[in-house]
């Protein structure tokens, strides 16, 4: 499991989650995003196209990051959820809290 981080030409930070987002690695994701926020980035996409599963701690860190980014006047979008992950967001009603797109490209286009 690992996180990748890059910026597109308009300054949107794209974080890729490879493997899983769970209790054991959620703090690492949180820190990467907070560091980018601290450096002035305000638009974020988290790309789950290579993510196998997310536990409730992972969901919790996404909720926490969403709040922090919004507080700084920024915006967070989620992308690339497979059918199972989409179901997870729907049953926890977190699909109502996040802007979710099918692909990272669609998320970038939406900013």
């Amino acid at each position: 499991m690992r996180f990748t981080l890059k910026k597109d030409k308009s300054g949107v930070v794209i974080v890729g989650v490879e493997g899983q987002l769970i209790v054991g690695n959620r703090q690492e994701l949180k820190q990467k995003v907070l560091d980018a926020l601290e450096e002035g980035s305000r638009k974020f996409v988290i790309d789950f196209s290579k993510t196998g599963y997310i536990d409730s701690s992972g969901l919790g860190v996404l909720v926490s990051l969403s709040k922090k980014i919004r507080e700084q006047g920024g915006e967070l979008r989620l992308a690339g959820l497979n059918a199972d992950l989409q179901t997870l967001f729907e049953l926890t009603k977190l699909d109502t809290l996040f802007a979710i797109t099918r692909t990272a490209e669609e998320a970038l286009a939406a900013f």
Partner: protein, 131 residues
């Protein structure tokens, strides 16, 4: 299959992989192993370490996996004081939606076919039926 997992949240992912990759093929579909089992076990282990053993590195959480012809049962037991699973608030209530905690048991219940706790509340049994 039996595991003793040290009380370290960083080991949850490895423990889950160990269980998932050592299940005999055929009882559960690859998709149910890949998503339902992995997620539910990560939840149960994470809860046991965080709330049961308090992330005390000197303590462990026991995992036992029983595989039947058409059912897999996973027991996760810690040595903590236990809790009352009936007293958890609904994480989907609008008042709770923006909390960053409180979804673990809710997620487990939706991913496996049956959830049972021992009397003390420090042990959980996850049942996944064939398919």
């Amino acid at each position: 299959m039996k595991l003793e997992v040290p009380s370290d949240l960083g080991l949850v992912g490895d423990a889950v992989e160990l269980v998932a990759t050592h299940l005999p093929p055929g009882t559960l579909s690859p998709r149910r192993i890949s998503f339902n089992l992995r997620t539910a076990l990560a939840e149960a282990l994470g809860n046991a370490i965080r709330y049961g053993t308090g992330e005390d590195p000197g303590r462990t959480v026991r995992v036992r996996v029983e595989v039947g012809r058409d059912v897999v049962r996973i027991y996760v037991i810690d040595d903590g004081q236990g809790f009352d699973p009936s007293r958890l608030p609904d994480p989907t209530h609008p008042d709770n939606l923006e909390r960053d905690y409180g979804r673990g048991l809710f997620v487990i219940r939706h991913l496996v076919d049956d959830v049972a706790f021992n009397e003390k509340g420090n042990g959980i049994c996850l049942t996944l039926r064939a398919g």
